[in-house]
């Protein structure tokens, strides 16, 4: 008997008990749909983390000022102004493994442009910042050494700020007042999206570090040339631990620390944090898929159950088929094909459900979902395997019936 004829017989048998077949398939439909949706959610999260890593730069080390220890109470990283702009220049100059070191000042403030205003974050930076943070200027121009040296009143706007202040019109050449200091917009920044913590990285204004310090922030920082952080990009292929050690040695030297003294700065390797994050989303994906597979397994048990019922109900049919010449293996394959057809039709419906589910979750919950061809093939393959595995026992039971007994079965 050909496979095609077998599938036709199976489809007819399944049509006879439509409701029963659909309910049985539902287990597989939900299972396959769940596996596909869960993997889509998982790989969406994974891709998001990967993108964040990429946007941060994979070999970025952030240097933060050290902590203040007052009466045994340690105040945490950044509580003391130990880091200076010159530390940044020294890192750039003296460590060959450093590709770019960008001392950065951070401040918050109110920005006014024409009739619009906006509260945002501004960074005082040096031209190295763009290289260190893998950021580029979308329109207009970036900063030059002259801008930094002359504390030029120029600014670059992040996408969010540009949109909030200028809407659709071109901000270049316009004047914005940051904490009442007027500066000319010379460009806009490439869109960067959300950070790991969910902050909008495009809600930012960049200006030369000197402008930020001398004209906007003012205060004690002017004389000390302290900075909030230094972003350091290590050259490709360089061992991060080694680069960190070199940086630590240099900074300790510059800060004149005795061997017994703790560091008065902190080195943070963000890609490590992200790597761990990536690993955890990967595990989450696996877990989600595993949980979803359980429902596929339950669906398989449903198939076995219904096939056992079907074999009993159709004992006389089996007897007749044997009487007219069906061999044991014909009967075996008939019921196996039936079980696999149930599983596969369920699997195909499950794909539709899974794809729809992924889109729905992407659309309504706003989560990123990545539909994965591998996941679809895997889920349907798994469904077919479930059909074979759980269909085999009932099919074998059918094929082992004795023709006379099956024929006389009431």
């Amino acid at each position: 008997m050909s496979w095609l004829a077998g599938i036709r017989i199976a489809l007819r048998a399944l049509r006879v008990n439509k409701m029963r077949s659909i309910l049985t398939m539902l287990g597989i439909i939900i299972g396959v749909g769940a596996v596909i949706t869960m993997i889509a959610i998982g790989s969406g999260a994974q891709a998001q983390v990967e993108e964040q890593i990429k946007s941060l730069g994979t070999n970025l080390i952030i240097v933060l000022p050290g902590s203040v220890t007052a009466g045994g109470v340690r105040m945490g990283a950044g509580s003391r102004n130990t880091l200076t702009e010159d530390d940044g220049y020294a890192l750039q100059r003296e460590i060959p493994n450093v590709q770019a070191a960008a001392p950065t000042l951070r401040g918050t403030g109110h920005v006014v442009a024409g009739g619009n205003n906006w509260s945002t974050v501004f960074y005082g930076i040096t031209p190295e910042y763009f290289e260190a943070r893998n950021w580029t200027v979308a329109t207009g121009r970036g900063f030059e050494a002259a801008d930094v040296n002359g504390a030029a009143k120029v600014a670059l706007l992040g996408e969010t700020v540009a949109r909030s202040l200028f809407g659709e019109s071109d901000p270049i050449g316009q004047i914005v007042r940051v904490r009442k200091v007027p500066m000319e917009v010379i460009g806009t920044l490439e869109r960067k999206g959300q950070s790991l913590q969910g902050q909008d990285q495009d809600d930012v204004i960049l200006m030369p570090i000197t402008t930020a310090r001398n004209r906007v922030l003012g205060g004690s920082g002017v004389k000390l040339r302290t900075v909030g952080s230094i972003s350091v990009k290590i050259r490709d292929g360089v061992d991060m631990a080694q680069a960190e050690a070199e940086m630590r040695t240099l900074l300790r030297q510059r800060h004149r620390l005795q061997p017994a003294q703790d560091d008065d700065f902190t080195l943070r390797n963000l890609s490590e944090v992200l790597g761990a994050r990536e690993e955890s989303t990967r595990i989450m994906t696996l877990l989600l898929a595993a949980v979803a597979s359980v429902s596929l397994l339950v669906g398989g048990i449903g198939i076995m159950n219904i096939m056992l019922v079907s074999v009993t109900e159709r004992t006389r049919e089996i007897g007749l088929r044997m009487a007219v010449g069906a061999r044991a293996k014909d009967i075996l394959s008939q019921f196996l094909v039936e079980a696999v057809t149930l599983a596969l039709v369920g699997g195909l419906c499950g794909i539709v459900l899974g794809v729809a589910g992924s889109f729905a979750i992407g659309h309504f919950a706003g989560w990123r979902t990545d539909l994965n061809a591998n996941a679809i093939v895997l889920a349907v393959g798994f469904a077919a395997a479930v059909g074979i595995f759980f269909g085999f026992y009932p099919a074998r039971k059918a094929s082992r019936l004795l023709p006379i007994e099956a024929l006389r079965y009431e």
């Binding site: 004829a5 009487a323 061999r327």
Partner: protein, 247 residues
Amino acid sequence: MDEALITTRELTKVYRMEGYAVTALNKVSVDIHKGEFVAVMGPSGSGKSTFMNLLGCLDSPTSGEYWLAGEKVSELSGNALAAIRNRRIGFVFQSFNLLPRTSALENVELPLLYSRVSAEERHRRALARLGEVGLADRAHHHPAQLSGGQQQRVAIARALVNDPVLILADEPTGALDTRTSFEVMALLQDLNAAGMSVVLVTHEHDIADFASRVVTFRDGRVMSDKRTKPVDAREKLREAQATLETA
């Protein structure tokens, strides 16, 4: 074996129950020739059904030999028996045993499904056989849409479709009224007249009368084996129709 279609020698079947054994068939030796119309009779428990199952290769004997068309089938098992059933024997059952929700045509095609015949060929042969039993116009009806007599004729077409050497009919009229019984018997007689060997199991004497030889079983043995002049089923059918019309 010259021209004997069926030869059994000391064919024995013993059913083992819990602790004791029942000899259903006890050293039965029978020869049936090609073209014979044999009725197998006997009360329940006489062994006629067991004999039928063995002839039909639905069961294997405990001991003894059985040749069918020159082939020693008593030693075959499993797939080989399935192949014999498929190609050599056509079954007709008391309860028709048609597949429900399946057209008459597809029911007739069923044996060909298990013998590597192309779909077109299956179709052609099944349709031809349905024509022979007078149901060509019912080919796409389901069993539920057919009368009992029509269903049994579909079953006979199915029995014939793979050109068997033997038709085995197990109480083929058991579920039919008298007039339809005559119809079915007339059909079997026609087939026999065309050269088909028929073995019929029945416990009704009027039905056995249509055969040309009656083998009677009792307690697992052949009690009598007589050749008779068969009653013409068509004649009886005409009589029955006449009484029906006058009534």
